[in-house]
Protein backbone atom coordinates (compact mmCIF):
# COMPACT_ATOMS: atom_id res chain seq x y z
CA UNK A 1 0.00 0.00 0.00
CA UNK A 2 2.73 2.41 1.02
CA UNK A 3 4.73 1.50 -2.05
CA UNK A 4 1.75 2.17 -4.22
CA UNK A 5 1.50 5.66 -2.77
CA UNK A 6 5.17 6.30 -3.38
CA UNK A 7 4.81 5.10 -6.97
CA UNK A 8 1.75 7.29 -7.39
CA UNK A 9 3.66 10.27 -6.05
CA UNK A 10 6.47 9.57 -8.43
CA UNK A 11 4.05 9.22 -11.34
CA UNK A 12 2.30 12.47 -10.57
CA UNK A 13 5.46 14.50 -10.07
CA UNK A 14 7.70 13.04 -12.76
CA UNK A 15 8.54 15.85 -15.18
CA UNK A 16 8.32 13.51 -18.18
CA UNK A 17 4.65 12.85 -17.24
CA UNK A 18 3.75 16.50 -17.60
CA UNK A 19 5.25 17.32 -20.98
CA UNK A 20 4.89 15.92 -24.49
CA UNK A 21 1.87 15.35 -26.74
CA UNK A 22 0.42 12.75 -24.34
CA UNK A 23 1.69 14.38 -21.13
CA UNK A 24 -0.54 15.42 -18.27
CA UNK A 25 -0.47 19.05 -19.46
CA UNK A 26 -2.03 18.21 -22.82
CA UNK A 27 -4.49 15.72 -21.31
CA UNK A 28 -5.55 18.29 -18.77
CA UNK A 29 -6.22 20.86 -21.47
CA UNK A 30 -8.17 18.32 -23.53
CA UNK A 31 -10.18 17.41 -20.48
CA UNK A 32 -10.95 21.05 -19.74
CA UNK A 33 -11.84 21.67 -23.35
CA UNK A 34 -14.37 18.80 -23.48
CA UNK A 35 -15.85 19.87 -20.15
CA UNK A 36 -16.10 23.54 -21.03
CA UNK A 37 -17.69 22.91 -24.42
CA UNK A 38 -20.21 20.46 -22.97
CA UNK A 39 -21.13 22.83 -20.15
CA UNK A 40 -21.51 25.81 -22.48
CA UNK A 41 -23.77 23.83 -24.81
CA UNK A 42 -25.75 22.55 -21.83
CA UNK A 43 -26.11 26.10 -20.50
CA UNK A 44 -27.30 27.33 -23.89
CA UNK A 45 -30.05 24.71 -23.77
CA UNK A 46 -30.86 24.72 -20.06
CA UNK A 47 -30.76 28.42 -19.16
CA UNK A 48 -33.58 29.54 -21.46
CA UNK A 49 -35.69 26.59 -20.31
CA UNK A 50 -35.06 27.34 -16.63
CA UNK A 51 -35.65 31.07 -17.06
CA UNK A 52 -38.83 30.52 -19.05
CA UNK A 53 -40.27 28.08 -16.54
CA UNK A 54 -39.26 30.37 -13.69
CA UNK A 55 -40.67 33.52 -15.25
CA UNK A 56 -43.99 32.04 -16.35
CA UNK A 57 -44.34 29.60 -13.47
CA UNK A 58 -45.47 27.01 -16.02
CA UNK A 59 -43.80 23.62 -16.20
CA UNK A 60 -42.43 23.81 -12.66
CA UNK A 61 -43.13 20.08 -12.33
CA UNK A 62 -40.71 19.40 -15.18
CA UNK A 63 -38.00 21.61 -13.69
CA UNK A 64 -38.24 19.99 -10.28
CA UNK A 65 -38.22 16.40 -11.54
CA UNK A 66 -35.58 16.84 -14.19
CA UNK A 67 -32.82 16.60 -11.59
CA UNK A 68 -33.80 13.15 -10.39
CA UNK A 69 -34.17 12.11 -14.01
CA UNK A 70 -30.65 13.42 -14.61
CA UNK A 71 -29.23 11.38 -11.75
CA UNK A 72 -30.83 8.22 -13.05
CA UNK A 73 -29.43 8.67 -16.56
CA UNK A 74 -26.80 5.98 -17.36
CA UNK A 75 -24.03 8.09 -18.88
CA UNK A 76 -21.90 5.29 -20.30
CA UNK A 77 -25.01 3.61 -21.66
CA UNK A 78 -25.88 6.83 -23.42
CA UNK A 79 -22.41 7.10 -24.93
CA UNK A 80 -22.61 3.57 -26.27
CA UNK A 81 -26.09 4.17 -27.62
CA UNK A 82 -25.19 7.37 -29.47
CA UNK A 83 -21.90 5.80 -30.52
CA UNK A 84 -23.74 2.92 -32.14
CA UNK A 85 -26.05 5.36 -33.89
CA UNK A 86 -23.49 7.92 -35.04
CA UNK A 87 -20.22 6.07 -35.37
CA UNK A 88 -16.86 6.95 -33.92
CA UNK A 89 -16.67 10.63 -33.07
CA UNK A 90 -16.77 12.97 -30.08
CA UNK A 91 -20.49 13.48 -30.68
CA UNK A 92 -21.69 10.67 -28.38
CA UNK A 93 -19.41 11.93 -25.64
CA UNK A 94 -20.74 15.46 -25.93
CA UNK A 95 -24.34 14.27 -26.10
CA UNK A 96 -23.84 12.31 -22.90
CA UNK A 97 -22.07 15.13 -21.09
CA UNK A 98 -24.64 17.71 -22.15
CA UNK A 99 -27.47 15.40 -21.09
CA UNK A 100 -25.74 15.07 -17.75
CA UNK A 101 -25.33 18.82 -17.27
CA UNK A 102 -28.73 20.08 -18.42
CA UNK A 103 -30.84 18.94 -15.45
CA UNK A 104 -28.62 20.56 -12.82
CA UNK A 105 -28.73 23.88 -14.67
CA UNK A 106 -32.48 23.81 -15.35
CA UNK A 107 -33.34 22.85 -11.78
CA UNK A 108 -31.12 25.46 -10.15
CA UNK A 109 -32.13 28.20 -12.56
CA UNK A 110 -35.76 27.46 -11.86
CA UNK A 111 -35.14 27.35 -8.10
CA UNK A 112 -33.38 30.72 -8.29
CA UNK A 113 -36.23 32.27 -10.25
CA UNK A 114 -38.85 30.78 -7.95
CA UNK A 115 -37.07 32.21 -4.91
CA UNK A 116 -37.35 35.80 -6.15
CA UNK A 117 -39.69 37.69 -3.81
CA UNK A 118 -43.15 38.09 -5.33
CA UNK A 119 -43.41 41.60 -3.93
CA UNK A 120 -40.23 42.57 -5.74
CA UNK A 121 -41.50 41.22 -9.06
CA UNK A 122 -44.83 42.93 -8.47
CA UNK A 123 -43.08 46.21 -7.67
CA UNK A 124 -41.00 45.89 -10.84
CA UNK A 125 -44.14 45.53 -12.94
CA UNK A 126 -45.82 48.27 -10.94
CA UNK A 127 -43.00 50.72 -11.70
CA UNK A 128 -43.62 50.13 -15.40
CA UNK A 129 -41.13 47.44 -16.41
CA UNK A 130 -42.09 45.31 -19.40
CA UNK A 131 -41.84 41.53 -19.07
CA UNK A 132 -38.35 41.33 -20.50
CA UNK A 133 -37.20 44.16 -18.25
CA UNK A 134 -38.59 42.35 -15.22
CA UNK A 135 -36.80 39.19 -16.38
CA UNK A 136 -33.40 40.67 -17.19
CA UNK A 137 -33.23 43.57 -14.72
CA UNK A 138 -34.82 41.94 -11.69
CA UNK A 139 -35.42 38.19 -11.83
CA UNK A 140 -32.19 37.16 -13.56
CA UNK A 141 -29.85 39.21 -11.33
CA UNK A 142 -31.65 37.99 -8.23
CA UNK A 143 -31.59 34.36 -9.38
CA UNK A 144 -27.95 34.63 -10.45
CA UNK A 145 -26.36 33.14 -7.31
CA UNK A 146 -28.40 29.96 -7.70
CA UNK A 147 -27.96 29.91 -11.47
CA UNK A 148 -24.21 30.04 -10.95
CA UNK A 149 -24.45 27.25 -8.42
CA UNK A 150 -26.24 25.19 -11.06
CA UNK A 151 -23.53 25.91 -13.62
CA UNK A 152 -20.83 25.03 -11.12
CA UNK A 153 -22.49 21.73 -10.19
CA UNK A 154 -22.96 20.92 -13.86
CA UNK A 155 -19.33 21.68 -14.66
CA UNK A 156 -18.06 19.54 -11.78
CA UNK A 157 -20.21 16.61 -12.85
CA UNK A 158 -19.05 17.01 -16.43
CA UNK A 159 -15.37 17.19 -15.41
CA UNK A 160 -15.78 14.01 -13.38
CA UNK A 161 -17.52 12.24 -16.23
CA UNK A 162 -15.48 13.51 -19.19
CA UNK A 163 -13.16 10.51 -18.64
CA UNK A 164 -15.55 8.62 -20.91
CA UNK A 165 -14.04 10.45 -23.90
CA UNK A 166 -11.11 8.09 -23.51
CA UNK A 167 -13.51 5.13 -23.48
CA UNK A 168 -14.27 5.87 -27.14
CA UNK A 169 -10.57 6.46 -27.86
CA UNK A 170 -10.38 10.23 -27.45
CA UNK A 171 -8.15 12.21 -25.05
CA UNK A 172 -8.55 13.86 -21.69
CA UNK A 173 -7.45 12.63 -18.29
CA UNK A 174 -9.55 9.50 -18.82
CA UNK A 175 -6.78 8.30 -21.12
CA UNK A 176 -4.69 7.35 -18.07
CA UNK A 177 -7.55 5.46 -16.49
CA UNK A 178 -8.49 3.44 -19.56
CA UNK A 179 -4.89 2.93 -20.73
CA UNK A 180 -3.92 1.94 -17.22
CA UNK A 181 -6.75 -0.55 -17.08
CA UNK A 182 -5.77 -2.01 -20.44
CA UNK A 183 -2.11 -2.25 -19.42
CA UNK A 184 -2.94 -3.43 -15.87
CA UNK A 185 -0.95 -0.44 -14.66
CA UNK A 186 -2.63 0.39 -11.36
CA UNK A 187 -0.44 3.44 -10.68
CA UNK A 188 -1.52 5.02 -13.95
CA UNK A 189 -5.20 4.30 -13.26
CA UNK A 190 -4.89 5.83 -9.83
CA UNK A 191 -2.93 8.79 -11.14
CA UNK A 192 -5.63 9.56 -13.71
CA UNK A 193 -8.37 9.26 -11.11
CA UNK A 194 -6.53 11.52 -8.67
CA UNK A 195 -5.98 14.14 -11.37
CA UNK A 196 -9.68 14.16 -12.27
CA UNK A 197 -10.68 14.44 -8.64
CA UNK A 198 -8.20 17.24 -7.93
CA UNK A 199 -9.31 19.14 -11.03
CA UNK A 200 -12.97 18.85 -10.03
CA UNK A 201 -12.36 19.98 -6.45
CA UNK A 202 -10.09 22.83 -7.54
CA UNK A 203 -12.65 24.14 -10.01
CA UNK A 204 -15.40 23.86 -7.41
CA UNK A 205 -13.43 25.88 -4.86
CA UNK A 206 -12.38 28.44 -7.43
CA UNK A 207 -15.92 29.03 -8.69
CA UNK A 208 -17.44 29.03 -5.21
CA UNK A 209 -14.90 31.67 -4.22
CA UNK A 210 -15.70 33.74 -7.29
CA UNK A 211 -19.42 33.49 -6.48
CA UNK A 212 -18.86 34.67 -2.93
CA UNK A 213 -16.81 37.59 -4.15
CA UNK A 214 -19.36 38.50 -6.80
CA UNK A 215 -22.37 38.48 -4.46
CA UNK A 216 -20.72 39.78 -1.30
CA UNK A 217 -23.09 42.74 -1.00
CA UNK A 218 -26.20 40.56 -1.15
CA UNK A 219 -28.47 40.13 1.84
CA UNK A 220 -27.74 36.82 3.57
CA UNK A 221 -31.10 35.42 2.47
CA UNK A 222 -30.44 35.78 -1.26
CA UNK A 223 -26.71 35.09 -1.32
Amino acid sequence: MYELLVDLGGWLTGPEQWSGSDGIGVRLLEHLQYSALATVVAAAIALPIGLLIGHTGRGAFLAINLSSFGRALPTVGLVVLVFLASGLSMTPVYVALVALAVPAIVTNTYAGMAAVDRDVKDAARGQGMRWHQVLFQVELPLALPLIMTGLRLALIQVVATATIAAYVSFGGLGRYVFDGLAQRDLVQVLGGAVLVAVLAVALDLLLAGAQRLLFRHRAPATA
Binding site: D117, D119, V120, D122, A123, A124, R125, G126, Q127, G128, M129, R130, Q133, V138, P141, L142, H217, R218, A219, A221, T222
Partner: protein, 384 residues
Protein backbone atom coordinates in the same frame (compact mmCIF):
# COMPACT_ATOMS: atom_id res chain seq x y z
CA UNK B 1 -58.62 63.17 -11.94
CA UNK B 2 -59.41 59.50 -11.35
CA UNK B 3 -62.87 58.24 -12.24
CA UNK B 4 -64.40 54.86 -11.57
CA UNK B 5 -67.52 54.21 -13.59
CA UNK B 6 -69.55 51.14 -12.66
CA UNK B 7 -66.36 49.17 -12.13
CA UNK B 8 -66.70 45.52 -11.28
CA UNK B 9 -63.98 43.00 -10.60
CA UNK B 10 -64.47 39.30 -10.31
CA UNK B 11 -61.39 37.08 -10.11
CA UNK B 12 -61.28 33.85 -12.15
CA UNK B 13 -61.90 31.86 -8.96
CA UNK B 14 -65.26 33.59 -8.57
CA UNK B 15 -64.36 36.06 -5.81
CA UNK B 16 -65.98 39.42 -6.35
CA UNK B 17 -63.38 41.88 -5.08
CA UNK B 18 -64.99 45.12 -6.25
CA UNK B 19 -68.71 45.55 -6.68
CA UNK B 20 -70.15 48.13 -9.06
CA UNK B 21 -67.89 50.97 -7.97
CA UNK B 22 -68.53 54.50 -9.12
CA UNK B 23 -66.25 57.06 -7.56
CA UNK B 24 -64.70 60.37 -8.57
CA UNK B 25 -61.39 61.40 -7.10
CA UNK B 26 -60.77 65.10 -7.75
CA UNK B 27 -57.33 66.39 -8.62
CA UNK B 28 -55.01 67.06 -5.69
CA UNK B 29 -55.56 65.79 -2.20
CA UNK B 30 -55.41 62.47 -0.46
CA UNK B 31 -58.21 59.96 -0.84
CA UNK B 32 -57.95 57.11 1.63
CA UNK B 33 -59.54 53.77 0.85
CA UNK B 34 -60.28 52.15 4.17
CA UNK B 35 -61.98 48.95 5.30
CA UNK B 36 -61.20 45.65 6.92
CA UNK B 37 -58.88 43.16 5.27
CA UNK B 38 -60.17 41.56 2.07
CA UNK B 39 -62.80 44.17 1.24
CA UNK B 40 -61.26 45.08 -2.12
CA UNK B 41 -59.10 48.12 -1.39
CA UNK B 42 -55.95 46.76 -3.00
CA UNK B 43 -57.86 45.51 -6.01
CA UNK B 44 -59.47 48.94 -6.43
CA UNK B 45 -56.08 50.62 -6.22
CA UNK B 46 -54.40 48.20 -8.62
CA UNK B 47 -57.05 48.69 -11.26
CA UNK B 48 -55.95 52.32 -11.53
CA UNK B 49 -52.49 51.36 -12.85
CA UNK B 50 -53.74 48.23 -14.59
CA UNK B 51 -51.98 45.81 -12.28
CA UNK B 52 -55.48 44.31 -12.19
CA UNK B 53 -57.90 44.57 -15.11
CA UNK B 54 -61.54 45.27 -14.28
CA UNK B 55 -64.16 42.73 -15.37
CA UNK B 56 -66.43 45.55 -16.50
CA UNK B 57 -66.72 49.31 -16.19
CA UNK B 58 -64.34 52.11 -17.01
CA UNK B 59 -61.48 53.76 -15.14
CA UNK B 60 -60.17 57.09 -16.33
CA UNK B 61 -57.05 58.87 -15.21
CA UNK B 62 -56.88 62.52 -16.28
CA UNK B 63 -59.84 61.85 -18.56
CA UNK B 64 -58.22 58.95 -20.43
CA UNK B 65 -59.50 55.38 -20.23
CA UNK B 66 -56.63 53.41 -18.70
CA UNK B 67 -57.29 50.31 -20.81
CA UNK B 68 -56.61 52.33 -23.94
CA UNK B 69 -53.08 53.12 -22.80
CA UNK B 70 -50.00 50.94 -22.89
CA UNK B 71 -49.88 49.35 -19.43
CA UNK B 72 -46.13 49.82 -18.88
CA UNK B 73 -46.25 53.46 -19.96
CA UNK B 74 -49.31 54.11 -17.81
CA UNK B 75 -47.52 52.66 -14.77
CA UNK B 76 -44.44 54.82 -15.38
CA UNK B 77 -46.71 57.86 -15.21
CA UNK B 78 -48.23 56.80 -11.86
CA UNK B 79 -46.23 56.48 -8.64
CA UNK B 80 -46.79 53.17 -6.85
CA UNK B 81 -45.75 52.37 -3.28
CA UNK B 82 -46.47 48.99 -1.73
CA UNK B 83 -46.26 47.50 1.74
CA UNK B 84 -42.78 46.12 2.56
CA UNK B 85 -41.55 48.66 -0.02
CA UNK B 86 -40.76 45.95 -2.62
CA UNK B 87 -37.32 47.42 -3.24
CA UNK B 88 -34.88 45.71 -5.59
CA UNK B 89 -32.41 43.98 -3.24
CA UNK B 90 -29.63 43.83 -5.84
CA UNK B 91 -29.63 47.54 -6.57
CA UNK B 92 -28.32 50.38 -4.43
CA UNK B 93 -30.84 52.72 -2.86
CA UNK B 94 -29.92 55.38 -5.40
CA UNK B 95 -30.51 53.02 -8.34
CA UNK B 96 -33.76 51.84 -6.79
CA UNK B 97 -35.01 55.41 -6.74
CA UNK B 98 -33.78 55.99 -10.30
CA UNK B 99 -35.86 53.06 -11.64
CA UNK B 100 -38.61 54.93 -13.46
CA UNK B 101 -36.40 57.74 -14.82
CA UNK B 102 -34.15 55.02 -16.27
CA UNK B 103 -37.14 53.25 -17.80
CA UNK B 104 -38.17 56.57 -19.30
CA UNK B 105 -34.73 56.87 -20.90
CA UNK B 106 -33.43 59.86 -18.97
CA UNK B 107 -29.92 58.41 -19.01
CA UNK B 108 -27.94 57.24 -16.00
CA UNK B 109 -26.49 60.58 -14.95
CA UNK B 110 -29.68 62.56 -14.99
CA UNK B 111 -31.60 59.72 -13.34
CA UNK B 112 -29.03 59.43 -10.54
CA UNK B 113 -28.96 63.18 -10.00
CA UNK B 114 -32.73 63.18 -9.65
CA UNK B 115 -32.54 60.21 -7.26
CA UNK B 116 -29.98 62.02 -5.10
CA UNK B 117 -32.32 64.99 -4.92
CA UNK B 118 -35.15 62.74 -3.75
CA UNK B 119 -33.07 61.19 -0.97
CA UNK B 120 -33.15 64.60 0.62
CA UNK B 121 -36.84 65.11 -0.11
CA UNK B 122 -37.81 61.98 1.83
CA UNK B 123 -35.40 62.70 4.66
CA UNK B 124 -32.55 60.31 3.92
CA UNK B 125 -28.85 61.14 3.94
CA UNK B 126 -26.77 61.09 0.75
CA UNK B 127 -24.82 58.26 2.35
CA UNK B 128 -27.92 56.04 2.38
CA UNK B 129 -27.98 56.21 -1.41
CA UNK B 130 -24.89 54.04 -1.69
CA UNK B 131 -26.26 51.30 0.52
CA UNK B 132 -28.38 48.30 -0.36
CA UNK B 133 -31.99 48.04 0.82
CA UNK B 134 -31.30 45.28 3.37
CA UNK B 135 -28.87 47.60 5.12
CA UNK B 136 -31.67 50.05 5.95
CA UNK B 137 -34.33 49.93 8.66
CA UNK B 138 -37.96 49.23 7.76
CA UNK B 139 -38.86 52.89 8.07
CA UNK B 140 -35.98 53.95 5.86
CA UNK B 141 -36.94 51.35 3.26
CA UNK B 142 -40.44 52.82 3.15
CA UNK B 143 -38.93 56.25 2.55
CA UNK B 144 -36.98 54.81 -0.36
CA UNK B 145 -40.23 53.29 -1.65
CA UNK B 146 -41.86 56.72 -1.58
CA UNK B 147 -38.84 58.32 -3.23
CA UNK B 148 -38.90 55.72 -5.99
CA UNK B 149 -42.57 56.45 -6.64
CA UNK B 150 -41.90 60.19 -6.80
CA UNK B 151 -38.83 59.97 -9.04
CA UNK B 152 -40.44 60.86 -12.35
CA UNK B 153 -42.70 63.43 -10.68
CA UNK B 154 -45.98 61.66 -11.49
CA UNK B 155 -49.20 63.60 -10.85
CA UNK B 156 -50.81 60.54 -9.25
CA UNK B 157 -49.46 58.44 -6.39
CA UNK B 158 -50.91 55.07 -5.36
CA UNK B 159 -49.95 53.87 -1.90
CA UNK B 160 -50.99 50.44 -0.62
CA UNK B 161 -50.59 50.23 3.17
CA UNK B 162 -47.14 51.76 2.83
CA UNK B 163 -46.68 52.21 6.58
CA UNK B 164 -48.39 49.00 7.65
CA UNK B 165 -45.22 47.10 8.52
CA UNK B 166 -43.35 49.69 10.60
CA UNK B 167 -43.70 50.27 14.34
CA UNK B 168 -46.20 52.89 15.57
CA UNK B 169 -43.64 55.57 16.40
CA UNK B 170 -42.01 55.41 12.98
CA UNK B 171 -45.45 55.18 11.37
CA UNK B 172 -46.52 58.47 12.93
CA UNK B 173 -43.28 60.04 11.78
CA UNK B 174 -43.78 58.79 8.21
CA UNK B 175 -47.38 60.01 8.20
CA UNK B 176 -46.26 63.46 9.31
CA UNK B 177 -43.70 63.58 6.56
CA UNK B 178 -46.17 62.44 3.96
CA UNK B 179 -48.44 65.30 4.99
CA UNK B 180 -45.54 67.75 4.78
CA UNK B 181 -44.50 66.38 1.38
CA UNK B 182 -48.04 66.56 0.13
CA UNK B 183 -48.28 70.22 1.14
CA UNK B 184 -45.25 70.87 -1.04
CA UNK B 185 -46.16 68.63 -3.96
CA UNK B 186 -49.96 68.65 -4.10
CA UNK B 187 -50.22 65.22 -5.76
CA UNK B 188 -53.40 63.28 -6.27
CA UNK B 189 -52.83 60.48 -3.77
CA UNK B 190 -54.86 57.31 -3.36
CA UNK B 191 -53.89 55.71 -0.06
CA UNK B 192 -55.01 52.28 1.14
CA UNK B 193 -55.10 51.37 4.82
CA UNK B 194 -57.15 49.27 7.23
CA UNK B 195 -56.31 51.67 10.06
CA UNK B 196 -59.07 54.23 10.57
CA UNK B 197 -56.79 56.50 12.61
CA UNK B 198 -54.33 56.63 9.75
CA UNK B 199 -57.21 57.36 7.37
CA UNK B 200 -58.45 60.24 9.52
CA UNK B 201 -54.95 61.66 9.86
CA UNK B 202 -54.05 61.57 6.20
CA UNK B 203 -57.28 61.75 4.25
CA UNK B 204 -58.86 64.75 2.62
CA UNK B 205 -61.54 62.24 1.69
CA UNK B 206 -62.15 58.81 3.12
CA UNK B 207 -63.85 56.03 1.17
CA UNK B 208 -65.11 53.27 3.45
CA UNK B 209 -65.40 49.81 1.90
CA UNK B 210 -67.32 46.80 3.14
CA UNK B 211 -66.50 43.15 2.48
CA UNK B 212 -67.53 42.10 -0.99
CA UNK B 213 -66.09 45.23 -2.53
CA UNK B 214 -68.93 47.61 -1.72
CA UNK B 215 -68.19 51.30 -1.28
CA UNK B 216 -70.33 52.42 1.64
CA UNK B 217 -69.45 56.07 2.05
CA UNK B 218 -66.97 58.55 0.66
CA UNK B 219 -66.70 61.84 2.51
CA UNK B 220 -64.23 64.23 4.12
CA UNK B 221 -63.15 62.90 7.52
CA UNK B 222 -65.10 65.54 9.49
CA UNK B 223 -68.30 64.65 7.69
CA UNK B 224 -67.66 60.93 7.98
CA UNK B 225 -67.08 61.20 11.73
CA UNK B 226 -70.01 63.50 12.33
CA UNK B 227 -72.44 61.60 10.17
CA UNK B 228 -71.59 58.02 9.27
CA UNK B 229 -73.91 56.75 6.53
CA UNK B 230 -74.95 53.64 8.42
CA UNK B 231 -74.30 51.45 11.42
CA UNK B 232 -71.50 49.64 9.58
CA UNK B 233 -69.53 52.84 9.07
CA UNK B 234 -70.24 54.06 12.61
CA UNK B 235 -69.04 50.74 13.93
CA UNK B 236 -65.94 50.88 11.78
CA UNK B 237 -65.11 54.39 12.96
CA UNK B 238 -65.03 53.05 16.49
CA UNK B 239 -66.09 54.20 19.93
CA UNK B 240 -63.81 57.22 19.90
CA UNK B 241 -65.44 58.75 16.88
CA UNK B 242 -66.24 61.97 18.76
CA UNK B 243 -62.68 62.38 19.96
CA UNK B 244 -61.35 61.75 16.47
CA UNK B 245 -63.49 64.57 15.18
CA UNK B 246 -62.05 66.86 17.84
CA UNK B 247 -58.55 65.79 16.82
CA UNK B 248 -59.22 67.03 13.29
CA UNK B 249 -60.12 70.59 14.18
CA UNK B 250 -57.55 73.31 14.84
CA UNK B 251 -58.01 75.83 17.63
CA UNK B 252 -57.07 78.92 15.63
CA UNK B 253 -60.70 80.12 15.69
CA UNK B 254 -61.03 79.82 19.46
CA UNK B 255 -61.24 83.24 21.16
CA UNK B 256 -58.51 84.06 23.64
CA UNK B 257 -58.18 86.44 26.56
CA UNK B 258 -55.31 87.95 28.47
CA UNK B 259 -53.36 85.79 30.90
CA UNK B 260 -54.54 86.22 34.53
CA UNK B 261 -52.74 88.93 36.43
CA UNK B 262 -52.53 89.35 40.19
CA UNK B 263 -54.66 86.34 41.19
CA UNK B 264 -53.60 83.11 42.84
CA UNK B 265 -52.15 81.72 39.60
CA UNK B 266 -49.36 83.34 37.67
CA UNK B 267 -48.20 82.27 34.19
CA UNK B 268 -44.40 82.29 34.17
CA UNK B 269 -42.70 83.31 30.94
CA UNK B 270 -39.13 83.43 29.74
CA UNK B 271 -37.63 86.76 28.57
CA UNK B 272 -38.77 86.03 24.98
CA UNK B 273 -42.37 85.68 26.16
CA UNK B 274 -42.59 81.89 25.91
CA UNK B 275 -44.85 80.37 28.58
CA UNK B 276 -43.05 78.08 31.03
CA UNK B 277 -45.29 77.12 33.96
CA UNK B 278 -48.24 78.00 36.17
CA UNK B 279 -47.11 79.23 39.57
CA UNK B 280 -49.37 78.83 42.57
CA UNK B 281 -48.66 81.95 44.64
CA UNK B 282 -50.33 80.38 47.71
CA UNK B 283 -48.03 77.37 47.92
CA UNK B 284 -45.20 78.64 45.73
CA UNK B 285 -45.29 75.52 43.50
CA UNK B 286 -45.05 75.35 39.72
CA UNK B 287 -46.85 73.18 37.18
CA UNK B 288 -45.22 73.03 33.74
CA UNK B 289 -47.39 74.17 30.85
CA UNK B 290 -47.58 72.82 27.31
CA UNK B 291 -48.50 75.80 25.12
CA UNK B 292 -50.67 75.24 22.03
CA UNK B 293 -50.46 76.75 18.55
CA UNK B 294 -53.37 77.50 16.24
CA UNK B 295 -52.66 74.29 14.32
CA UNK B 296 -53.00 72.13 17.44
CA UNK B 297 -56.25 70.24 17.72
CA UNK B 298 -59.31 70.85 19.81
CA UNK B 299 -58.67 67.46 21.36
CA UNK B 300 -55.25 68.50 22.63
CA UNK B 301 -56.76 71.79 23.87
CA UNK B 302 -59.35 69.80 25.80
CA UNK B 303 -56.64 67.58 27.16
CA UNK B 304 -54.47 70.52 28.20
CA UNK B 305 -57.33 72.37 29.85
CA UNK B 306 -58.01 69.29 31.95
CA UNK B 307 -54.35 68.93 32.89
CA UNK B 308 -53.96 72.64 33.64
CA UNK B 309 -54.52 73.62 37.31
CA UNK B 310 -56.29 76.76 36.15
CA UNK B 311 -58.40 75.18 33.45
CA UNK B 312 -56.74 77.62 31.06
CA UNK B 313 -54.61 76.72 28.07
CA UNK B 314 -51.70 78.93 27.04
CA UNK B 315 -51.88 79.99 23.38
CA UNK B 316 -48.75 80.83 21.41
CA UNK B 317 -47.84 81.99 17.91
CA UNK B 318 -45.57 80.21 15.44
CA UNK B 319 -42.47 81.24 17.40
CA UNK B 320 -43.85 79.98 20.71
CA UNK B 321 -44.51 83.45 22.11
CA UNK B 322 -47.60 83.79 24.31
CA UNK B 323 -50.61 85.35 22.59
CA UNK B 324 -53.25 84.73 25.28
CA UNK B 325 -55.20 82.07 27.15
CA UNK B 326 -58.48 80.22 26.55
CA UNK B 327 -60.64 78.71 29.28
CA UNK B 328 -62.12 75.27 29.51
CA UNK B 329 -65.73 76.35 28.97
CA UNK B 330 -64.90 78.01 25.67
CA UNK B 331 -63.19 74.82 24.53
CA UNK B 332 -66.17 72.68 25.61
CA UNK B 333 -68.60 74.97 23.87
CA UNK B 334 -66.59 74.76 20.70
CA UNK B 335 -66.34 71.00 20.89
CA UNK B 336 -70.10 70.69 21.24
CA UNK B 337 -70.85 73.15 18.50
CA UNK B 338 -68.40 71.39 16.18
CA UNK B 339 -70.41 68.18 16.19
CA UNK B 340 -73.67 69.99 15.63
CA UNK B 341 -72.31 72.07 12.73
CA UNK B 342 -70.55 69.17 11.08
CA UNK B 343 -73.84 67.28 11.04
CA UNK B 344 -75.88 70.25 9.87
CA UNK B 345 -73.46 71.02 7.01
CA UNK B 346 -73.91 67.56 5.67
CA UNK B 347 -77.66 67.82 6.03
CA UNK B 348 -77.73 70.89 3.84
CA UNK B 349 -75.41 69.29 1.31
CA UNK B 350 -77.48 66.16 0.97
CA UNK B 351 -81.23 66.46 1.51
CA UNK B 352 -82.01 63.24 -0.29
CA UNK B 353 -80.64 61.46 2.71
CA UNK B 354 -82.44 63.45 5.39
CA UNK B 355 -83.88 60.47 7.19
CA UNK B 356 -80.60 58.68 7.55
CA UNK B 357 -79.02 61.97 8.54
CA UNK B 358 -81.44 62.44 11.41
CA UNK B 359 -80.55 59.00 12.67
CA UNK B 360 -76.85 59.57 12.45
CA UNK B 361 -77.03 63.11 13.78
CA UNK B 362 -78.09 62.17 17.28
CA UNK B 363 -75.39 59.62 18.02
CA UNK B 364 -72.69 61.95 16.70
CA UNK B 365 -73.70 64.76 19.02
CA UNK B 366 -74.13 62.31 21.86
CA UNK B 367 -70.65 60.95 21.37
CA UNK B 368 -69.25 64.46 21.42
CA UNK B 369 -70.97 65.33 24.68
CA UNK B 370 -69.96 62.02 26.19
CA UNK B 371 -66.37 62.65 25.19
CA UNK B 372 -66.32 66.08 26.77
CA UNK B 373 -67.90 64.75 29.92
CA UNK B 374 -65.50 61.84 30.07
CA UNK B 375 -62.52 64.14 29.90
CA UNK B 376 -64.08 66.36 32.51
CA UNK B 377 -64.74 63.43 34.81
CA UNK B 378 -61.14 62.26 34.76
CA UNK B 379 -60.07 65.70 35.84
CA UNK B 380 -61.94 65.48 39.17
CA UNK B 381 -62.16 68.43 41.54
CA UNK B 382 -59.12 70.58 40.87
CA UNK B 383 -58.90 74.26 41.68
CA UNK B 384 -61.32 76.26 39.55
Amino acid sequence: MIQFQAVHKQFPNGTTAVHDLSLDLPEGGVTVLVGSSGCGKTTTLRMINRMVEPTSGTIRVAGKDVTEQDAAELRRSIGYVIQQAGLFPHRTVLDNIATVPLLLGWGRRKARARAAELLDTVGLTADAGKRYPHQLSGGQQQRVGVARALAADPPVLLMDEPFGAVDPVVRTQLQDELLRLQQELGKTIVFVTHDIDEAVRLGDRIAVFRTGGHLVQCAPPEELLARPADAFVADFLGAERGLKLLSLTGIAALPQGAAPDGGRWELLRDPAGKPLAWRDTDTDTETPVRPLKGTDSLLSALNESVASPTGLIARVDEDGVLTGVTDRDTIHDHANRLHVTASRDTLAADDADTLAADDADAPAAAVAVEAVEAVEATKGGGPA
